[in-house]
Symmetry: C2
Subunit: 192 residues, 2 copies
DNA sequence: GTCTATATCGTGATAGAC
DNA sequence: GTCTATCACGATATAGAC
């Protein structure tokens, strides 16, 4: 509650670490990043960094959470069409390969039933599905998307396609993720 | 050339190992599988197994290659519609969680420019894109898919969606991957 | 709160006997 | 061709000084 005392200070330091880590990974890339590597990058020893995050998995999970927080601002900015925010995020991803790799890696590992970040990703998909299907419903109400389009199925497909395109893009960066997603949108809005 | 001698025998043993490994992983699942674990499963020592595959990555890559080989038969079987083979493979995936995890893991790690399996996956996507876009062109010629559908873009979206749905399914197995893919197909064939 | 130093572990790979 | 034994490594995590 108070902004004074060791607790609040610890939180602030955490935030500072996450922000720096985000920049470092985005810029310098991700090479199976170890805690040590990242600790160097943010100017702490490995032990020093793990003072703020109890485990490697928690650390990386929180980095991704922070990233979502930043991206959300882009997503919610005023645009001509609501879907444009989503396109913007995808387009931005191509500028931060390290983050794309970190996300792909951790979300895949979280498929293990015992992985500590599993809950984080389950909840993350739940939220994104909700947000996206709401967007589609809004656009249907506005007459921009055909009424026979299923908002939930479609939202799911967009999230899946975005993830899968990242895998392909990491293997071949000449692939245009945003263009593919835009094409999917075109399939959706097409009058039947 | 000859079916006698140490060379041919080694190849046969490799095949046997791969077939067994495929069954074991499909049935028992995949837990960040180490070479040692898999060696136990196929009844060899770790060193014994690595006698046939020079490295861990090569081993797992070949397991996935063998899996594709098996799946291809399903894919090319006679069906009512060509796309049904693809659906069948997706539906089958839900029965082999260990293989899904192995595939997701390795294909993600292969995003690293230095990963030994990188070439394998690049070529794999190339082939699948080709096969799928051919399928769509055939269906367009047969009048089953609208002419204004872009075969390459659409093929890419199907592969991406299939991959991304696996990530979601590993986190929540109640998700119906085949249903989602079928819905995508419905979006595609819809007359505009 | 941050460091140095270290414990502990599991890994892939290899040497060499049989 | 397969084993046992071992190596060398790099990782996370922790203990304890400052």
């Amino acid at each position: 509650m108070a902004s004074r005392g060791s607790y609040a200070k610890g939180v602030a330091k955490r935030e500072e670490i996450l922000t720096t880590a985000l920049e470092v990974i985005a810029r310098n890339g991700y090479r199976g990043a170890s805690v040590r590597e990242l600790a160097d990058a943010v100017g702490l020893s490995q032990a020093g960094l793990l003072h703020y995050f109890s485990s490697k998995e928690e650390l990386f999970q929180e980095i991704l959470r922070k990233r979502d927080e930043v991206d959300s601002q882009a997503l919610e900015g005023e645009r001509e069409r609501p879907i444009d925010g989503f396109f913007a995020v995808i387009r931005h991803n191509a500028e931060v390969p390290g983050l794309v790799r970190l996300y792909a890696q951790l979300s895949t590992e979280a498929g293990d039933p015992d992985h500590p970040a599993r809950e984080f990703f389950i909840e993350r998909y739940r939220q994104f599905r909700l947000r996206f299907s709401d967007l589609i419903r809004d656009e249907q109400a506005a007459g921009n998307v055909p009424a026979d389009v299923d908002p939930e199925q479609t939202a799911n497909l967009f999230l899946a396609a975005a993830d899968g395109l990242q895998t392909q893009w990491m293997l071949d960066p000449s692939i245009d993720m945003a263009e593919s997603i835009a094409y999917l949108w075109q399939l959706v809005v097409r009058r039947s």
